[in-house]
Structures are given as C-alpha cells and as structure tokens.
Symmetry: C2
C-alpha cells in the first residue's frame, strides 16, 4: 500500500484471498481496509456476496460503510436471486453512501450462455439486470447505490453502455492476465470513459515481490488508466 498509494485512488481486495486463512485472514482484511483509508484510498471489496432478506442485511452490516467491521466503500454482488432480492443491501448502500457492483457481464466466455439467455424477446439476462439497476439508481438519485461489473474482455457494442447502464459506475476487470489490454478498454468503453474503473490484478501483482518491478507495474498501469480516462 505504501508503494502503491501515490499512484492509485482505489484498491480492490479479493475477499477469497483473505478468507483462505480463515478468521485470521479476515482480520488482516480489516487492517488492510483501515490502512487504505488512512492513505486516502477507497476500498472496493471483491466478495461477490448475494442472498435474500435478512441475510443481505447482515452482509451490509458486516462489510459496507466505514462504520462496519470491514468498512468497504463498495462491494461486488451476485444477482442470481434477482436485483429485488438485493434491496436490503441497496438500502444499506444508500444509507452509508457506498456502492454495490452487480456482476452483469463477466470476463470469462463460459458465462455468456447464462448471461445472454433470453428473459423475453426484448431482453437478455444481462440486459434485464442493467435495466433494473438503472431503474433503482434513478429511484435513489442523486445517490448511485448500484454499479455493474462488466468484463473488459467482453466485446460489447461500444455505443451501448450508457443507454444500458445509465450513469452507473462500471468495474471492468480482466485487464492483463485475462487477456484484455488498455486499448480494449478505450475501444470498448469509449462512450463511458468517465464511468469506467479498469482493473488489473494479476498482471501487476505477479511483477512483485521485487519492489522496483512492482512499483513500475503499478505506475505503468496507473499511467495507462489515467491517460485513457482523461482523453
């Protein structure tokens, strides 16, 4: 974090990599989040949670907002149980000024059969989720409780993002190890470069543990991202 914080504004810790060490790992996650906040960084927890009713309330109480034990500023969530089912978490996001990133379009091709399945003649699963999250963001304006995860490897019709997702922030994982590059981000998100959060993980982390290499990788990714987003 000390090496990276001059170049970045947000970190995206993977919950799984902390959970693999059980409660000790979870405690380290809490410390990482606090350390990031002390350095002025936002924290997007990639935990892909998602359930119904009071279970979602409990996830919100534990993970979302700086008053919670984990204290994340944003959280990735699954909507297989519907966007409606996420309402208790959405309520929590509105209350705490945090954001939920709903997985809509993943970066792995094997998921597209499910995500492109037809709800009806007009809409696929992914399009339905996009419309529903746009509706909820409109209801909660000026707050923006919902963003979307849309794989950087997905070759969407470039013009479609804003009409589909409105002003929702878009998390675009898959840069680097998963095969997308910075030019893909520029080409695929051309109409929403003000909303996109490109995310490179393994391509940066695997340049460590050598400090100079790691910092070089972060600077390179951050510079590419900044040039892109300020075009």
């Amino acid at each position: 974090l000390d090496l990276a914080s001059p170049y970045i504004s947000l970190i995206k810790p993977q919950s799984a990599y902390f959970e693999q060490f059980g409660s000790l790992g979870f405690e380290v996650l809490e410390r990482v989040v606090r350390a990031a906040h002390e350095r002025g960084l936002l924290v997007l927890l990639d935990g892909k949670r998602g359930d119904i009713d009071s279970t979602n309330e409990a996830y919100g109480r534990g993970l979302l907002g700086r008053g919670s034990p984990v204290g994340a500023d944003a959280l990735t969530v699954h909507a297989y149980l519907s966007i409606d089912a996420l309402e208790p978490l959405i309520h929590c996001a509105v209350e705490t000024g945090t954001t939920l990133f709903v997985v809509v379009r993943s970066s792995n091709a094997s998921a597209w059969a499910l995500q492109d399945a037809r709800v009806n003649e007009a809409e696929s699963v992914a399009e339905m989720l996009a419309r529903q999250l746009r509706t909820i963001n409109a209801r909660e304006a000026p707050k923006v409780p919902l963003g979307a995860v849309v794989g950087a490897t997905y070759a969407n019709d470039a013009a479609g993002w804003r009409s589909q997702f409105g002003e929702a922030p878009l998390l675009a994982p898959g840069v680097g190890a998963q095969g997308a590059d910075w030019d893909d981000i520029q080409r695929r998100f051309v109409d929403v470069l003000d909303l996109v959060i490109p995310s490179a993980s393994r391509s940066v982390l695997l340049r460590g543990p050598n400090e100079a290499e790691f910092v070089a990788a972060i600077k390179e990714a951050a510079t590419r991202a900044r040039n892109l987003l300020e075009v």
Copy 2:
C-alpha cells in the same frame, strides 16, 4: 447445538450472520463448525460464494474440508459466472470429499425471470445448470461433488427432479417463514425424497430463546422431516 444435536444430523450456518461481526464473527463461525463436528454433525455453510480461477481455489482452501480453517463439509455457491468457472472449487470438493450446492432454483419468486430465461429452445438457465451439474457428477462418480439449491416454495413438476438433477443432493430452503410447509416438501419432491435436505431456519430460531420452545420446534421439524424422508 447441545440442545439440538440429538435431533439433527446437519447444521446450515449462514455466513452473513457471522460476517456481520467481522473477523470476530468469522472466528465464532470456526468455533461453531468445530463444535458441530465434535457432536457428530455435518456442517453446510450457506455462504453463496462464487468467482473464477484462482479466486475459487482460495475459497476452497479457506472454507471447504476439515483441514481448512473454516472446515465446512459443504458450501452453497453461485454459478452466474458459469459452472465451468467453479471447476477449481469442484476440484477441491472432490479432493476433500465435500459438496458444493449450486443455487439453481431459489425460493423467492422475483428470481424466476432470470432463472427461467431461455438459453435456447430446449433449455432454461436453471435447466442448463442442472444438466451441467449432472454431467460433472457423472464425470466424478462415485464422488458427488455437486448438489443443488432448489427452493421448497418452487412448484416444480414433481416428476422432473431426478431426470434433471440425477443423484445430486437437493437443499430445499424455504420451509416455514418463507411459506412452504412439510406437505409441500412431500408433494414437490416425491420422487427424490432420498436426496432432499429440507431446511427450516427462521421458523425454528424464532421460537427461541426460550429453551423448551426452541427444543420443541426442533423436535417438531426433525420429526416431520424424518417421517417424510422415510416414507
């Protein structure tokens, strides 16, 4: 646990209710799992995890199998990123002799638009996931790494379960507070009563904290379940 263990064989802790207290809650979860094992109970962790690649490996290392920090015997998972993406977790389940319960049919009606969406003329999303998990269980036989979550409130054509899901165990939440009753279980799962795990949570827990009431609720639910499954 001491009050309940004479009447039950498995507990299904909700990860969210522990995570709401952060790492302290996670530590309590680890202790509850160990205490359950000491009393001869199996533990199905309802955590609805699900990601891709090495992230799923990490969830496996942290949560699945008695050698892991959490030590669950089974885990609920999301397949919005596809069953293929779960392969690292499936590998872990095979290695550790544990089971993943893929959410296929949820007990909340708002989810059916997504779960009934058509992948093609022959299959809905839920049917595709069922077929894919049947294929993987066949590949791994005699091990059964995959089960399915199928809401007890869902009025499936009673004859269809075994042809859809093969010999996969079926977790059927939604008995009690969510509106299904034990007769629904009998009617809806008539051809797979040897495979179904009916689950009642709030309808039992809300009879506590009075000990006698709580034990009565557990005995009642366990007796109903036992009568049903041994018919």
